[in-house]
Symmetry: C2
Subunit: 292 residues, 2 copies
């Protein structure tokens, strides 16, 4: 039930979706909501709008409205939140909340996954990022965005799929059922594909990732080769997290489940299920429970 006391808002902002969870000071979940893409290095104003959208949806689910903004202490775990300039700009954004703290999506996921204890996470979503708390010290791996980084992510895998589908279509490399299925999305027309690509954001590229897993499972050689490259990228990130001292690592994000069965056996001893989700971590970042 809404009260007049302080409220805590956790935000988990990814490249595709922005999720929000509202809780009271006792940790009771009051409502959840969602908004649009919210990578702050890709498009900060859009990310801010998505935060507002998700926050209002969570408030509405709790029977509250904008009038409650002044009671809210918010924690933002954002894709791109490791970019200092954009993180500072978001921290200064005028939402009307009583307080707000910005961290990376990986930081809040790590907080949520291990309840503040040592451990690592690897987010395999639209983008990717590794993070770990090692002897209380926070370390990150990757997370520098679609152009420079994001190995093992849906956007990178999807773009590789699109590029490979096109070389198949042009017979520069062998075609397959998979490359034809990707091209069929664009009516087998490179100009149509190009028109799409010129406007595609990471979320759009990531839509081409799930078919890679499906076609690889059916034995398609091109999809299998793309999946093998994807698994190599994920394994390199996991190896680095282990090297940095992460003794337990939780995979998170939409590609965690489909990728897990393909990972080398050396990770069986280190991979664990997360205790809580990124929204739990974002609520902790907002200050929930820190006084208890």
């Amino acid at each position: 039930m809404p009260t007049n006391g302080p409220l805590f808002l956790g935000i988990d902002g990814g490249g595709t979706t922005c999720r929000a969870r509202l809780a009271d000071a006792a940790g009771r979940r009051l409502g959840e909501g969602a908004g649009g893409p919210s990578n702050i290095t890709t498009d900060l104003p859009r990310a801010a709008a998505s935060i507002l959208e998700a926050a209002r949806a969570a408030l509405a689910a709790a029977g509250l409205d904008d009038g409650a903004f002044g009671r809210i202490r918010a924690g933002f775990g954002m894709a791109g939140g490791n970019a200092p300039r954009e993180a500072a700009a978001l921290a200064a954004w005028s939402f009307g909340f009583a307080a707000q703290t910005v961290a990376s999506d990986a930081d809040v996921a790590c907080l949520g996954a291990h309840g503040g204890r040592d451990g690592g996470i690897l987010i395999l979503g639209t983008g990717s990022q590794g993070a770990a708390l090692v002897a209380g010290r926070s370390v990150t791996v990757g997370g520098w965005g679609f152009a420079l980084s994001d190995g093992g992510s849906g956007a990178i895998l999807g773009r590789a799929a699109a590029r490979r589908a096109l070389t198949g279509h042009e017979e520069i490399e062998p075609a397959s059922a998979f490359t034809r299925a990707v091209m069929a999305r664009f009516e087998a027309s490179p100009p149509r594909m190009l028109a799409w690509a010129l406007k595609a954001i990471p979320r759009d590229w990531a839509e081409l990732a799930p078919p890679v897993f499906e076609h690889a499972a059916a034995g398609d050689p091109v999809a299998s080769a793309l999946l093998a490259d994807h698994v190599d990228e994920v394994a390199a990130l996991l190896d680095r997290l282990v090297e940095l001292g992460a003794g337990r690592i939780a995979l998170m994000g939409g590609l965690a489940a489909p990728t897990r069965p393909h990972l080398p056996a050396r990770f069986d001893a280190v991979l664990v299920e997360p205790d809580g989700d990124a929204l739990d971590g974002a609520l902790a970042l907002a200050g929930l429970g820190s006084a208890r």
Copy 2:
């Protein structure tokens, strides 16, 4: 010497530079000039501005000014010129010329390289594209831009170099003298690199390609691996051009010379020096010599 007769303007518009050559009806070269980036799928208004810049520079070199625009028949060979919508938009652009025809940069390069006879070209510039005239029929390979295509280009090689430098910096993959040299351009700071990458256009990525050749020549293992992937991409494009019937192929663009020594011996019999350059082809597209 300027006359009052018709003038022919050839434009070779690439992702980094736009070049112009002015000739009279007898084929005499009156002047040349250059302008900025001119990929019509990346930024059409900017490409049009670069064409104007290059055209005015060529006119100035010939002692002429905008007053001569009405005498000009122009041929535009443009990066991105195989995208139908953008090509049509450029063809309709109000420059004030008497006539203008648009083709891809590859088409005019092919016209210039083989003097209108059968043969192929592979442009390895900021972007890449293959094209060939086979029994009088025009075919193209690749050329669908930085996101989807451009294998073997400077932008693709440069982006791969940047990504690999960053995984080296983060110790996700082994570092080397090459990865450290790339990172040094960004003061070894991933946030600085990210700020650059968020604004980088293909021309900017392509600036990271020449160091790959230099460090590979010095035996750097990372640069050598990047070069091997680059050579594989170029070889796949050449094989496809041969398969399509190109009996002689001219390599063009800034990466042609550094790439050539690394290509497999099977291409020795097919690779030739071009008869003329893309500007010669663009002048032919404009109509120069077609009545002779």
